[in-house]
Each structure stands twice: as C-alpha cells, then as structure tokens.
C-alpha cells in the first residue's frame, strides 16, 4: 500500500536517530512483548472497525429502502462495537503496564547508578535537582510510552486496513483516501516542523518564566527586607503579560498543523459524502444515469471516512508527548552517561612494593587519578602509619577530595598503587574496609529524623552510657540538654537552629559511636568562623588520639596537632614533619 508506506516513511523520517530517540527506543525494546501484544489488540481493533462499518451499512441501507433490517446485522454491528471497546481496553492496559514497567525499571536503575556514583553524583546536580530528574522527569516519559509509541503503529495500521477494505468497494473513494493521506502527511511534516520549532521555543520561554518565578520566590525574604516585593510582583506580571502577547503569533503557527489535519479530515469526509450522494442520485458529471455504488457501499464508505483520519489526528495531539519525553531523556541520559569507575583495569604489579608498605597502615605509591583526560590527582607517594594523624592541604581543585573519595572506595579506576596494611586496595573486601571508616565532610550528612536516629545511622545500637560518653567527649552534651526534646529533637534538613559548629560536633559524636579507626575528614571547618573552627579542631584533637586520621583542611585552618603535614599540588606531594611548619605560620586568612 503506497499510502501506508508514505505513513511509515513519514514516521521513519521523524525518527532520525538523535541520541534521545535512541535512548527511548532502547527502553521501549525492554517491553517488546507487551508492545507486540498491544499491536495484536490494535489489529483486532482495526478489524472490528471495518466489521462494524460493514454491519451498520447493511442495517442503514435496508432501513432506508425497506423500513426493515435483519436483526443479525444489528447484532453483528453491536458485537463489533463491543469488540472494539474490548480491544481498546486491552490495548490501553497493556500499554500502560508497559510504560509503568519501563519507568519503574528505569528509576530503579537511576537510583542504583547514583548510589554507585557516590560523591561523584554531585558533579551532575545537587540532590534536590537529582530527585526531580529521578521522579518527575521519569514520569514525564509516561505519555510517550503509553500513548505516542503505540499510536505510531496504529497510524500505519488503521489507514492500511481501511484502504484494503475500500478497494473492492469503490475505486474513487480509494483514490480520495490515497490522495489525501499523503497530502495530510506532507502538510503535517511541512507545518509540523515549523510548529515543533515554535513549540520548543515556547517550551523554553515557559521554563524561563517558571525559573523567574522560582528565583524571585526563593529570594522573597530578601525582597521583603528591601521593601521591593511590589516591584517584583510587577516584574512577574509584566513578563507574563509580554510573553502572552508575543507567544500568540507563535501559537497561531503551532496549531496550524492540527488545523491542517482537521481541515483535510473534515473536507474529505465532506467530499466522500458529496461524491456518494451525487453518485447515488446518478448525476455525477462523468457518470450521469448510473450509480457507481449501492447504498450499502455508500454507507460503508461514509462510516469509514472519519476513522481513516482519526489515528493521525490523535498522533498530532500526542506529538507534544514525544517532545516532552525527549527533553526528559536528555536529563536522564546525562545521569546514566556519567561513567561509573570502571572495574580495575589491570592487576597491580606487586614488584614495585616498597618495604615501607608492610609497615604502614595506608600507603600510596605513584597513586594518580586521571578521568576523561582531566588530571584529578597528580601521582603521589606516601605512607600513613597506624595511629598517625595527617593534615592534607592544597589549593582547591588539586585533588584533595578526590583522594578521600578513592579511599572511600567510590573511585576504582585510579592509576598507581594503593595499599591498606600491605594489601593492594583492589583485593580488599570493600565492605570490611568501609566498616573501619568514619566520614566527616564539609556539610555533615543528615537524614530526616531525630538526632538520635542520625547518631545511630547504620550502626548497631550502643548502650545509653556509650551514647552519653560520646556526646560528652564531642562536647555535644550541653547543647543537647538545652533542647526541649533532647536527643529526640528532629533534625530537619534546614537544621533546627543548631549552628554549624554544633552540627560538626554531632558528626564527631557519630564518628566516635561508630568505633571506626580510620577517620577521613573533608574540610570539616570550612563553613565555620575561626573561633568555632578552632574549638571544633580542639575537640577533634582530643577525641581522635589513637585513630588513624587524614584531614583535609585549608591553610586558613591549620591543624597544629597533626603528626604530618602533606601539601598537595599539581606536581605531587610535599611532606613536612609536624603540623606546624613554616607554611602554616605565615598563612594569612583569605
């Protein structure tokens, strides 16, 4: 069928494989059985459609000519209608379940990927924005998988079936369908392309408006203090109005594609009706005196005419589903495309193992990390003995955090060698190793819940006296006692009025409770003022005695009590014995 070919060509040419389209197609492939089932229902639907038209046509013509009709035709017609309803029901359910499976599977995969990315996920986006991607953006794929994708098949199927059914009845009607179908498609592509551009622009501007609203709302407290809320309101109102005005010209074009379809559908129904009416009256100019079709056939054609264009019109309506899905796909792909650390490229060569490795707790030998051509960490060599406390400093971007992430086991495609107690890092049981670690980042990690729950996050519950001791040691006990609910006060994400220093002390208490013997600290004091920072560092000094500790800190917050000071730069590591070296002495707070 040339017509159906034109349709499928059109849908193919639309499917120029952008990476987004490829991504969506791959997802759809997971549910190919379901989609095949949906196609089966689609075929049933199309057959019922033709059957219904045929039965009704018989009923109608007999009714008109004889005032009576056969009941069996009526039952057939109603049965076909029922069949159509059932096929539609089945199709809808199958497609919806396919979409659900795809989306929930994808979400699971995304969360897993983000988990494995660990700290590297923050290179994509902050957590709140990631949650929007994982939930809203994944759900934005729904319309695409449950409606657009199956509809693409129906757009090919239904017109072909109708054309097949029309051929034996009337050549003229067949030709009308055949001529209008490609015209519709050509116009759809022609106008649709422009409309898609217009749509995209509109989408962007709308996003910009939302963004403006968000921005002003987030800074509302500031605006209130400045007494400028009215000005901001005017600004919101003004830009929305301006957008409304300018967008109308864009919309006139954007809806033209729908209008074209409507026009063709309406006109060809009218054309077929006229042709059939005149033909029946035997006054067609080229066929005066004879009827090209019987009344039954005429009715049959008339009933099929609107159905011929209906799937195309629906596809036109669902077109925005595709755009929405592709926009979402871009964001989702950027998560999945962020590479996980590849599993260790090559087994470490043991030949280079220096003798000091045997003695040290942590030992680096020419350890470097290069990631997609960018040097994240210059090759470093050094040892940390058990119970030794090391201060690591250096400019930002030189790889201090990267080294900690390596030690946490989130990055495995490093170069060079890393030994823990004389064993190559890659041969370690990651779980056992991580159990020995305590992690104190710049902003302490908290979950929603009470202080107690946060202190005991992921550890077996210690005795109450142990908790009290940890709180005493970390100097949390006083301010916790001052809280109305004590340990059961909820720590919301915003903090419940606890200061940055108090939060850091709580995370020290947590580290104490975990009984970890290797502490990794990533600029624990960078958000604090000098007095608070010094107080926190003093606490750290007393509680971390005997622990193996690697603390990253700027020169502005020198760690005087460290056994060693490593300063990291683009070339490697400089080691100074003792925390108080010259560098720290003349460091000016920046």
């Amino acid at each position: 069928m040339a017509g159906s070919k034109a349709v499928s060509n059109a849908s193919k040419s639309k499917r120029i494989k952008t990476p987004e389209a490829g991504f969506l197609a791959e997802l759809a492939l997971q549910q190919s059985t379901q989609y095949r089932l949906a196609q089966g229902f689609g075929v049933l639907f199309a057959i019922a459609l033709v059957l219904q038209a045929w039965a009704f046509a018989n009923v109608f013509s007999d009714m008109v000519l004889q005032q009576a009709f056969s009941l069996s035709f009526l039952f057939l017609a109603l049965f076909a209608l029922l069949l159509r309803a059932l096929a539609n029901f089945g199709r809808e359910r199958v497609c919806a379940s396919a979409s659900r499976h795809i989306r929930y599977g994808l979400r699971h995969k995304l969360i897993k990927h983000l988990t494995q990315l660990g700290p590297a996920r923050l290179r994509i986006e902050e957590d709140a924005a990631l949650s929007t991607r994982v939930y809203e953006q994944v759900d934005a794929l729904d319309d695409y998988f449950s409606r657009y994708k199956p509809q693409v098949f129906m757009v090919t199927l239904i017109p072909s079936v109708i054309l097949l059914a029309v051929v034996p009845v009337s050549w003229i009607a067949f030709l009308i369908f055949m001529l209008t179908a490609p015209l519709v498609i050509v116009f759809m592509i022609f106008v649709g392309h422009k409309a898609a551009q217009a749509n995209r622009r509109q989408f962007n501007v709308l996003a910009m408006l939302s963004n403006q609203f968000m921005d002003l709302s987030q800074g509302l407290a500031e605006l209130k203090r400045l007494g400028r809320t009215q000005a901001a309101r005017d600004r919101l109102s003004h830009s929305a109005k301006a957008y409304q005005k300018t967008t109308m010209s864009v919309l006139l074009l954007a809806f033209l594609s729908t209008a074209t379809l409507e026009l063709f559908a309406s006109l060809s129904i009218a054309m077929i009706a006229l042709y059939l009416g005149l033909g029946l009256l035997e006054i067609l100019p080229w066929q005066v005196g004879s009827a090209p079709v019987t009344l039954t056939q005429a009715m049959f054609l008339l009933l099929l005419a609107p159905e011929f264009y209906l799937p195309l019109r629906q596809l036109g309506n669902d077109y925005h589903a595709k755009q929405k899905a592709e926009a979402a796909a871009t964001d989702l792909m950027s998560i999945l495309d962020t590479p996980l650390s590849a599993q260790k490229a090559l087994a470490t060569t043991e030949s280079h193992m220096p003798s000091s490795v045997q003695l040290a707790y942590l030992s680096f030998y020419e350890l470097a990390w290069q990631d997609t051509g960018r040097q994240r960490l210059a090759p470093i060599t050094g040892n940390i003995l058990q119970g030794e406390r090391v201060w690591l400093s250096g400019e930002s971007g030189v790889g201090k955090s990267s080294l900690l992430h390596l030690l946490l086991g989130f990055e495995e495609n490093y170069q060079g060698q890393l030994y823990i107690k004389g064993k190559a890092f890659s041969t370690l049981n990651l779980r056992d190793w991580r159990n020995k670690l305590a992690w104190l980042p710049q902003t302490p990690e908290w979950v929603n819940g009470s202080i107690r729950r946060n202190l005991l996050l992921g550890i077996t519950e210690p005795s109450e006296s142990n908790i009290q001791k940890a709180l005493q040691d970390s100097q949390c006990a006083d301010f916790i006692a001052a809280l109305p609910n004590g340990l059961d006060t909820a720590l919301t994400e915003l903090g419940s009025g606890l200061s940055g220093g108090q939060m850091q002390r709580l995370s020290i208490a947590r580290a104490l409770l975990s009984k970890a013997d290797v502490w990794l600290l990533d600029e624990p004091c960078s958000g604090l003022d000098t007095d608070t920072a010094n107080a926190v560092l003093n606490t750290l000094e007393t509680v971390s005695r005997g622990k193996t500790l690697l603390i990253v800190s700027h020169d502005t917050h020198p760690i005087h009590w460290a056994d060693k000071h490593w300063s990291l730069n683009k070339e490697g590591l400089d080691e100074n014995k003792g925390g108080l070296d010259e560098k720290a002495n003349y460091a000016i707070p920046r």
Binding site: F56, S61, D62, M63, L65, A68, F69, L71, S72, L81, L82, R84, E92, R93, A96, R100, Y104, I111, T115, G118, P119, A128, L130, V134, Y135, D215, L216, S217, Q218, L220, K224, R225, G227, T229, A240, Q244, L251, F255, L256, E262, I269, A270, G277, L281, L295, L302, L303, R434, L437, W439, E445, N448, A482, E493, L494, G497, D531, T532, P589, R590
Partner: protein, 563 residues
C-alpha cells in the same frame, strides 16, 4: 464566598470570563459541527439512495445539503483551530493570575515561616501544582460542556423522529456525563490522593537518604534504606495501576452504555417481523426488525451517525475527571499557603535615630534556641560590635533586630515602643546582611537596583568600587549587565556577600546590620570595605557581628554575648 482569596475550581472558570467565552464558543461550534457533519452526511446519502430507488432522483434538491456538509466541514476546522489558539491565550492569562496569587500569599506570610517555604523542592511543587490546575478548564470543563451540547443537539433531533427516544437518550447522557465520570473520579480519587502524598514523601526520603549517602554506604546499611525507597516506589506503582484501572474500566463502561443506547433506540422504533421478504442483502433470514410507520429511515440513519460522533466526544471524559482529582489535590495544597490579608498596618515611623531594646531575646520558632536576654542602646553615630562564642546566638539576635526572627522583650524606636518583627515600616529603615544573602538570577545591575531603583551607572560603579568588586565587574564581558547564574552559583561566597552588601549600601538606610561580613576576605579587601563604611557609605547606626578584628572595631561599643 467564605474567604475572599481562597481558590476554587469554579473561581478559575470565572477568573477571566470574557477571555473564556471565545474558546468556549469556538469549541462549541466545532464540536456541534463535527456531530452534525456526520449526521447530515448520513441523512444526505440515505435520502439520495432512497430518492433514486423511488425514481424521484431528478427532483431531489442536492445543492442545499451539499453546501451544508461543506460548510460544516469548514466550521469544524475553523472552530477547532480557534478554540486551541484562544484557549491557550486564556490559559496563559490564568497562569499569570495564579502565580500572582501565590506571590501575594507568600508576601503576606510572616517572615520567620518564609524560610521553610523557600526551599527549592517545595517551590518546585508549587509551580507544578499551578501548571496542573490551570489546565482544568481546558481538560475537564470544556470537553464536558461539548459532550453535553452534543447530547442536547442529538436529543432535539431525536425528538422530531420520535419523542419516546428522549428516554434512552436522557439515561445514556446521565450515565456518560454524570454517573460514569463521578464514579470513576471517586474510585480513582483515593489513589490520586495517596499517590500525590507518596510522591512528596518519596522525594523527601530521596533527598534525605542521598544527603547521607556516603555515611550510609560505608556503614553498609545503604541497602536497607534503598529498599525502603523502593518500597515507596512500589506503592506508588500500585496507585498508578489503580488510576489506570479506573480510566480503562470507565471507558469500557462508556462503550457499553453506547451499545445499550443503540439497542434501545432500535427496540423502541420497531417491531419484530417474522415474515420474510427477500432482498439482495439478506436472504434466508427469519428475524427481521420492522421500523414503525412514522419513523423515517433516512432520519434515523442521521441520528445513529450523530450518536457515534457524540460517543467520540464522551469517551475522554472519564480520563479527564480522574485528572480533576489531581487538580483538586493541587488546589488544596495551594490553599494551604493561603494567608489572611495582614490585619493592620503598623503606624508609620519617623526617621530612626534611636533604638533601644530591653530584655531582648531573639529565638527560632522550631527549636527555641536563641541568645540570652540583653539590653541594648543605640543612637545616631554609634557602632556596635556583637561578640560571643559559637552558639551564643549572635546571628539569631541580629536577625531578630532586623525583624526577621521572633523575639521577646521590648523595643523602643525613637523612644516609642514598637513592634519590630515583620514590620515593613521598621524594615524600611534598616539594611540587613544575613550570613548567606540571596543573589538573584538577574543582571548585576538589576541586583544592585533592588537597593535603589533609580541608581545610575556611576552610582553602581562607585558602590562596587567601595566593596572591591569593581575590578571583577570590569573584567566581565558585559560589565554591569552580566547575567548571574541561579542563586549566584558562579560567584564565590565572598563575592556573593559583597554584592549583597553593595546593594544594601545603595539603600542608605539609617541602620545597617552586618552578619560576619568579612568572612573569607583578605586584609586589603576588609580595609577597603571598612573605609567605605566609615566615609562615603557611613550609616547612622551600625551593628556588626564578626569574629575577627577590623578597622571598625576601634570606635565600636562592644557587647559580649553571655553563653
């Protein structure tokens, strides 16, 4: 109307009635023309067939129905196009109205509660709620109206064929337009509601868990927590399934009602006739159905075809009424932020030249944490330096003086007692630099002009010079019109603070409150800023919270906050 500002769906419809009438009218024209197109075509063809069979073909007037059919086709198209364009215009207008409504509610909110609501994800939810709600008239109300009008048109037609047909039509219309949408909507509304709550819950758990990802992972307990996240997802999936179930079943029932309607139409209009009369179409049939005398076959064909067209209008209704549930949930959430208009505006204040605080204690509402009560006297020309160990509530105290934070005690402005919390008249007299000030996603100039709306370029460069940002701004390609990224993320913490300070200096308010303004700045920059504060931009009164010494501290009165 209970409260003048509560939102409701009905109010959405009436928000801009004149703007709404055009899409409604065009939509009605289009839908009715669509139904009539099929009906008239059906009648035309059968009448033509009948005329030929009766041999009266030559007398048959085919021009009028032909013209009507073409006219209807064009009307349908033009109507649909007009509806889409005008409806979209209306929708944009509605979006603007609603956004401004949300804005007004948030402005009316006490400032201490505002911080909670300003979190990104909450706002995001508000925005998506808005998008959901504005679609209500277009997705739910209009289709329903079209279907209703379709039924009314068909009923008038049916009345002329045989008034008895009004019975099945009324029943079918009731089922299609009222019962099915209502029942399916009710059936799904629980799932919609639960689904939305789960969605919020799931998101906050996600953010909460991921913010502690590393700790959870190294403790080896991530799996348990992730499994709980998964559990929420599964429940959400079940809710989605229920919603889908309601929609699909509703649509199936809709079809069944249509089938029943057809069956009863034919039943009412004819009688069983066992006798056989032979036609080419059916030969050996014993069961024939004879139409009643007064019923014209041609008209009946038109009616059945029109009903098939109405069926197409009716089918999407179930889905849209389930969607209505979502709008209602969104609406309820929006109404939660609804605020009564601020009761009474505080009396106007003269220019601030004296501020005295007695037994003053600022505190946070949720935790009750704050500073120990203090006395504080300040008159024009004074500089005050608040000091204290970490945790003594310096920032809270400063925020409470700025009217940003709740406080107990008495405040006297120019010797008169005055409420200063969230008092715009008082806040007009002060400039407050919090620890993390907000930088708007606008140009540098626009950010500065928030301090002084009519600031000239010279003024702006001067103030940037004063906070030692002029060199940085000059280095930018677009200078003052450089757009800053969201929340000033492309600025360093120190730059953000200085930009906000520049904005405040332009305001030249009598009272300046600075919370750790020198954090992360080098000595030269600190000196430069202090220079500006002592000369060109000197405020009448200055309260400073700082843990480091600065040139300002020389002449400052010091208040050491007790622990």
């Amino acid at each position: 109307m209970k409260k003048p500002t509560t939102l409701s769906l009905a109010k959405l419809l009436l928000a801009n009635p004149w703007g709404f009438i055009v899409p409604v009218m065009t939509g009605v024209v289009s839908s009715v023309a669509g139904v009539a197109l099929l009906g008239v075509s059906g009648w035309f063809i059968s009448a033509a067939g009948l005329a030929t069979a009766l041999g009266t073909a030559l007398a048959f007037n085919y021009l009028t129905p032909g013209a009507i059919v073409r006219g209807l086709a064009i009307l349908r198209t033009a109507g649909r196009y007009g509806e889409q364009v005008t409806a979209h215009n209306h929708l944009l207008g509605l979006l603007r109205t609603l956004r401004l409504w949300v804005w007004d509610q948030r402005v009316a909110k006490p400032i201490a509660d505002l911080h909670q609501q300003s979190r990104g994800d909450l706002l995001q939810r508000l925005v998506s709620d808005l998008d959901q709600i504005i679609r209500w008239p277009l997705v739910v109300f209009l289709p329903w109206l079209y279907a209703l009008l379709g039924y009314i048109g068909v009923s008038i037609f049916a009345y002329f064929i045989d008034p008895v047909l009004l019975w099945p039509l009324t029943i079918a219309a009731l089922c299609h337009l009222v019962i099915l949408p209502y029942v399916c909507g009710r059936f799904a509304s629980h799932a919609v509601h639960v689904g939305q709550i789960l969605g919020v819950h799931r998101r906050s758990r996600f953010v909460s868990l991921f913010s502690a990802l590393i700790t959870l992972t190294i403790r080896g307990h991530w799996q348990d927590y992730a499994a709980r996240l998964e559990q929420l997802d599964c429940r959400q999936k079940r809710m989605e399934w229920q919603i889908q179930q309601a929609i699909s079943l509703g649509r199936l029932l809709g079809y069944l009602v249509t089938i029943g309607l057809f069956a009863s139409l034919f039943f009412l209009l004819g009688d069983l006739q066992a006798d056989t009369f032979q036609t080419s179409a059916f030969q050996n049939d014993s069961m024939n159905w004879q139409l009643k005398e007064h019923v014209s076959g041609t008209w009946l064909v038109g009616l059945v075809l029109a009903l098939l067209a109405v069926n197409e209008l009716v089918l999407p209704l179930v889905q849209s009424f389930v969607a209505q549930g979502q709008s209602q949930v969104g609406l309820r959430r929006l109404n939660q932020i609804q605020q009564d208009a601020p009761s009474v505006s505080a009396p106007a204040l003269g220019k601030l030249n004296r501020l005295s605080l007695q037994d003053w204690r600022g505190y946070h509402l949720e935790s009750g944490l704050g500073n120990q009560p203090i006395h504080l006297e300040l008159s024009a020309g004074d500089t005050l330096w608040l000091r204290g160990a970490s945790g003594t509530g310096k920032s809270t105290l400063l925020a409470s003086i700025a009217g940003d934070c709740l406080a107990t005690g008495k405040a006297y402005v120019n010797q008169e007692e005055c409420k200063i919390y969230d008092n715009p008249n008082f806040q007009a007299q002060l400039s407050y630099l919090p620890q993390s000030p907000y930088v708007f996603q606008q140009s540098i100039a626009a950010n500065l002009m928030l301090g002084k709306a009519d600031a000239s370029d010279t003024e702006m460069w001067a103030v940037l010079e004063a906070v030692a940002l002029a060199d940085w701004a000059k280095g930018l390609e677009n200078g003052l019109s450089t757009l800053l990224s969201s929340q000033g993320r492309d600025l360093s913490g120190g730059q953000r603070k200085r930009l906000a300070l520049a904005r405040l200096l332009l305001r030249r308010a009598p009272l300046l409150l600075l919370d750790e303004p020198f954090d992360g700045l080098d000595k030269a920059t600190i000196e430069r800023i202090c220079q500006a504060l002592e000369h060109d931009y000197q405020p009448d009164m200055l309260i400073l919270v700082s843990h480091i010494d600065s040139p300002l501290s020389g002449k400052a009165k010091v208040i050491e906050l007790p622990n």
